[in-house]
C-alpha cells in the first residue's frame, strides 16, 4: 500500500520526461583537454571513405581533437533525418549535406552557424560560395570538388564500334541504334534506386539555359514551367524516347546503382546517365576497367550550344547546437577541410572528378578520363552551367518517382512534366516564396 504514491510519482515523472528528447545522443568529451567531434556523412561508399580519411588526417594534424564519423541514409530519408535532428537540437557536431536548394530547405539562419568570420571563406570558389550562402551569410565548407551530371560512356565499346561522341540528340540515338545492333544495351538505367533516374532531366539543364537563359529566374517566380517550356520539357521527352525505342538494359526496373556501374565497367551497357562522382566507385571496384570510362554532356538539339551541367560540391556545416570547446574544434575542422591539405585528403580517399572549390587546391596529375573530359567543357567559355538546384531554391521532392514513371513507359513525358510542376508548387509554397 505505501508504495502506491511512489509508483504514481514514478509513472507521472516518466510520462513527463518522455516529452523532452534533449538529453539523447550527446557525445562525450574526453578528458585532458581533448575534444571529440561527431561527424555525420551520407552512407555511400564514397562519402564514408572521404569522411574517415578527413578525420584521420585532421587528427594527425590536431592530436587534441578526434573525429568520429557516423553515417545516414541518402535521398529523401536522409533529408528527413537531417531536418528532424536539426529541429530537435540533436544534430552531430559537424555534418555533411547537399548545397543549393536542399541546403536552403534547412532554414540555415536558424539552424546553422555562420562562418563569415573565418579567414578561409575568402578562398572559396564564388560558384560554390553562393550555393552554401543565404541572406548574405556563408554556412559551409566544400565537400570534394565539382561534379558533372552527364552521360558516362564506355570508350572501349565506342572504339570497337567506331563511334563518335555525339553532340546532338539525333547523333546519340543513331549511336544507340548501332550499339543495340551489336548486342549491347545502349542506355543503362537503374530504377530500383529511384534517384538514379533523374539525370536525363536534371543533367539537361545547361541545354535548357542555353535555349532559354531566363528560365531559372522565371521558374523561381512561377512564370516558367517544365510542361510549357519547350526546352525544359526535352529532358522528360528524352527519357521517354530511350525507353520507347527499346534502348534500355533488360532489367532497368529491378537494377540498382551498383548494377549500373558494373554493366558500364564491363561494357554490357554503353551509356549511363549519372553524376560523374560515380567514377570513383568504379575506380575502387573495377580498377582495370576504370580507364575505359569517359564522359560527355547530355546531347542537345543544337550542337553549337551543347554543354555540361555541373553540380556544386556538397557542404560541411556546423549546427547551432554545437557550442563551447566543440564549436572551436568544429571551426578548426572546417578550416582544415577548406584548405589545400583538406583537398589532398579528400583526393586520397576518392578519385577527384572535377576542380576543387577552394582556391589553391590542385588536381593530381594522374586524374581519370572522366575528370579530363569534364575539364574540356569547363575550359570552354559557355561550355557549362550550374544545375538548376543551385540557381533556384525549388526542387520538387517527387521528381525521382516521376522520372521512373516516364522512363518506364508508365506515364507520357508531357504528363510527367505537368505532374512535376505541381510537385514544385508544393515545395515553393512550403518555402514561402513570392508569387506562388
Amino acid at each position: 500500500m505505501r508504495f502506491r504514491p511512489l509508483i504514481l510519482l514514478a509513472v507521472t515523472g516518466l510520462a513527463l520526461s518522455a516529452c523532452s528528447a534533449g538529453s539523447l545522443g550527446s557525445s562525450d568529451d574526453e578528458g585532458g583537454g581533448k575534444v571529440a567531434l561527431s561527424f555525420l556523412v551520407d552512407n555511400s561508399e564514397d562519402a564514408a571513405r572521404i569522411g574517415e580519411q578527413l578525420a584521420r588526417d585532421f587528427t594527425a594534424a590536431n592530436p587534441d581533437i578526434t573525429v568520429k564519423v557516423e553515417t545516414r541514409p541518402q535521398g529523401a530519408e536522409g533529408d528527413n533525418l537531417i531536418k528532424t535532428r536539426l529541429s530537435t537540437g540533436d544534430m552531430t557536431d559537424v555534418f555533411q549535406y547537399n548545397s543549393g536548394s536542399l541546403f536552403q530547405a534547412l532554414a540555415p539562419q536558424k539552424n546553422l552557424v555562420s562562418l563569415d568570420d573565418q579567414p578561409w571563406v575568402g578562398h572559396l570558389d564564388d560558384n560554390f560560395r553562393t550555393t552554401v550562402s543565404t541572406g548574405g551569410r556563408t554556412y559551409g565548407a566544400p565537400w570534394g570538388g565539382f561534379i558533372a551530371g552527364a552521360i558516362m560512356y564506355n570508350k572501349a565499346v565506342y572504339a570497337r564500334l567506331g563511334l563518335q561522341v555525339p553532340k546532338t540528340w539525333a547523333a546519340f540515338m543513331a549511336n544507340n541504334a548501332r550499339i543495340k545492333a551489336a548486342g549491347i544495351a545502349p542506355v543503362i538505367q537503374t530504377y530500383q534506386d529511384t534517384w538514379t533516374s533523374q539525370l536525363f532531366v536534371l543533367g539537361d539543364f545547361h541545354n535548357v539555359t542555353a535555349a532559354e537563359p531566363d528560365f531559372p529566374a522565371r521558374y523561381t517566380r512561377n512564370q516558367a514551367r517544365y510542361a510549357t517550356s519547350p526546352a525544359a520539357l526535352k529532358g522528360f521527352r528524352h527519357l521517354q524516347e530511350v525507353h520507347d525505342a527499346g534502348y534500355l538494359n533488360k532489367d532497368f526496373a529491378s537494377a540498382k546503382f551498383d548494377d549500373g556501374l558494373k554493366k558500364l565497367a564491363r561494357g554490357e551497357g554503353a551509356h549511363y546517365p549519372m553524376l560523374s562522382s560515380a567514377v570513383s566507385t568504379i575506380v575502387a571496384n573495377y580498377p582495370q576497367q576504370a580507364g575505359d570510362i569517359g564522359l560527355f554532356a547530355i546531347p542537345s538539339d543544337d550542337a553549337a550550344r551543347n554543354g555540361l551541367t555541373v553540380w556544386s560540391p556538397a557542404g560541411v556545416y556546423i549546427p547551432t547546437s554545437t557550442a563551447g570547446a566543440k564549436l572551436d574544434a568544429a571551426r578548426k575542422f572546417l578550416a582544415f577541410i577548406a584548405s589545400p591539405a583538406g583537398c589532398a585528403s579528400t583526393g586520397t580517399a576518392s578519385t577527384p572528378v572535377g576542380p576543387y572549390a577552394v582556391k589553391g587546391c590542385r588536381l593530381p596529375a594522374d586524374v581519370t578520363q572522366v575528370a579530363k573530359d569534364t575539364q574540356q567543357y569547363l575550359d570552354r567559355p559557355g561550355g557549362s552551367s550550374l544545375a538548376l538546384e543551385f540557381l533556384s531554391p525549388i526542387k520538387g521532392p517527387a521528381l525521382e518517382q516521376i522520372t521512373v514513371e516516364v522512363g518506364s513507359g508508365i506515364r507520357p513525358a508531357a504528363d510527367g512534366a505537368a505532374l512535376y510542376d505541381q510537385d514544385v508548387r508544393k515545395q515553393a509554397q512550403q518555402l514561402g516564396l513570392e508569387g506562388w
Binding site: 509508483i7 504514481l8 509513472v11 507521472t12 510520462a15 513527463l16 518522455a18 516529452c19 529523401a76 530519408e77 533529408d79 528527413n80 531536418k83 528532424t84 529541429s87 530547405a105 532554414a107 536558424k110 539552424n111 530504377y191 530500383q192 529511384t194 533488360k250 532489367d251 526496373a253 529491378s254 521532392p397 517527387a398 518517382q401 516521376i402 521512373v404 514513371e405 518506364s408 508508365i410 506515364r411 505532374l419 505541381q422 508544393k426 515545395q427 509554397q429 512550403q430 514561402g432
Partner: protein
C-alpha cells in the same frame, strides 16, 4: 477466444464498461487512482490529437508554423497520387481481406479435422505472423526479383516465364498483397479455428442423423455459426489493409513510380519531403476515411449477428 467475447458483447458491456455519470460514487477506486492513466492518456493521446488537428491547418516546417486555413486539405485532395493511392488502398484492403477470409476458413477446416500432427501444423501456419514485417518484405523482394529471384527460377523449371512481380506496374500492388496474405493468413486461421471449435458437437451429430453431406454441414452449420469469427477476421484484415504501409514500403516504396502507392505511403512521402503540415492533414483524412469505412461496416456485420 474472439468468438466468445464477440457473442457476449451485450452482457460484457454491462459488466466491465465504465459506470454511467452520476453513479461514479460507487466506483471501488479513489479518483487519484485514475491519475497516472489519465496523465498518460492526456499527454500521449489527447494532446497530440488536438495539436495534429491544429498543425494540419498550418504550413509547418518543424522550425516554425504558419496558419493557412484549409489550404493543406485543398492541396492534399488535388494531389494526383492521392486518387490513385486511394484506389490502391481499397483494392489492397479488399483483396487481402477477402483472401484471408477464404484461405483462413479453408485452412481452419483442414486444421480442425483429424489429421496427423495437427498441433504442429497449426503453429506452422501461425509462424509468418510472428516474423517482422520488414524482414518478410525484404526477403520477398529478393525472392521476387525477376531475373535472379528464387520464385521465377522455380517457375522457369516448370517452363513458366514468371512475371516481374514487383517492378511491373500491373502486378506490383498485387504481389505485395500476396505476401501480405501469406503473412497474415495465420491469424485469420487461428480465429476461425476458435470459431469452429466452439460450435457444439451436437449440431454436427444431428446433421449427420438427418443425412447431411459435407457441403451441407459446412454451409448450414459451420458458416453461419462461425459468423462472429468471420466478422472479426473481416474487420481486422480490412482495417489492417486500409492502413497498410510497412510491407509496401519495404518491398516497393510505392513504386515503380506511384503504381503501388497507398494513402499511408503518399502521406509518408509528404512527411519525408518536409511538408509536415500537409502530411498531418493527410493523416487526419486517413483517420476519417478509415472511420467512415469501418464504423458502418462493423455496425452492419454486428447487426446481422443479432438477427441470427
Amino acid at each position: 477466444m474472439a468468438t466468445t467475447t464477440m457473442r457476449r458483447t451485450p452482457a460484457g458491456r454491462r459488466a466491465t464498461g465504465a459506470p454511467a455519470p452520476g453513479v461514479g460514487a460507487r466506483s471501488p477506486y479513489p479518483y487519484w487512482f485514475y491519475l497516472p492513466a489519465a496523465v498518460i492518456y492526456g499527454l500521449l493521446f489527447i494532446v497530440p490529437t488536438l495539436t495534429a488537428f491544429y498543425f494540419s491547418l498550418t504550413r509547418w516546417t518543424i522550425f516554425d508554423a504558419q496558419f493557412i486555413g484549409l489550404d493543406n486539405y485543398v492541396t492534399f485532395f488535388r494531389e494526383p497520387a492521392l486518387v490513385s493511392g486511394l484506389t490502391h488502398t481499397l483494392v489492397y484492403a479488399v483483396v487481402t481481406s477477402g483472401a484471408k477470409v477464404v484461405l483462413g476458413m479453408l485452412l481452419a477446416l483442414l486444421l480442425t479435422s483429424r489429421i496427423v500432427g495437427r498441433g504442429y501444423l497449426r503453429s506452422v501456419v501461425f509462424f509468418p505472423v510472428l516474423v517482422s514485417t520488414i524482414g518478410v518484405g525484404l526477403t520477398f523482394t529478393v525472392l521476387m526479383n525477376p531475373d535472379q529471384g528464387l520464385i521465377n527460377d522455380a517457375l522457369a523449371v516448370t517452363g513458366i516465364d514468371g512475371p516481374a512481380w514487383l517492378t511491373d506496374p500491373r502486378y506490383a500492388l498485387l504481389s505485395v498483397a500476396l505476401v501480405d496474405v501469406w503473412k497474415g493468413v495465420g491469424l485469420a486461421t487461428v480465429i476461425f479455428i476458435a470459431g469452429i471449435v466452439s460450435i457444439p458437437r451436437e449440431y454436427f451429430e444431428a446433421a449427420k442423423v438427418d443425412g447431411a453431406g459435407a457441403w451441407d454441414t459446412f454451409r448450414r452449420i459451420v458458416l453461419p455459426l462461425s459468423r462472429p469469427a468471420t466478422v472479426t477476421v473481416i474487420l481486422l484484415s480490412l482495417i489492417g489493409g486500409l492502413r497498410s504501409f510497412d510491407l509496401i514500403w519495404a518491398m516497393t516504396r510505392g513504386g515503380p513510380g506511384f503504381t503501388s502507392d497507398v494513402i499511408a505511403s503518399v502521406i509518408y512521402k509528404q512527411y519525408q519531403a518536409g511538408f509536415y503540415g500537409l502530411s498531418t492533414a493527410g493523416n487526419v483524412v486517413l483517420f476519417l476515411v478509415v472511420t467512415a469505412i469501418v464504423v458502418p461496416l462493423s455496425r452492419l456485420l454486428n447487426r446481422k449477428e443479432v438477427d441470427l
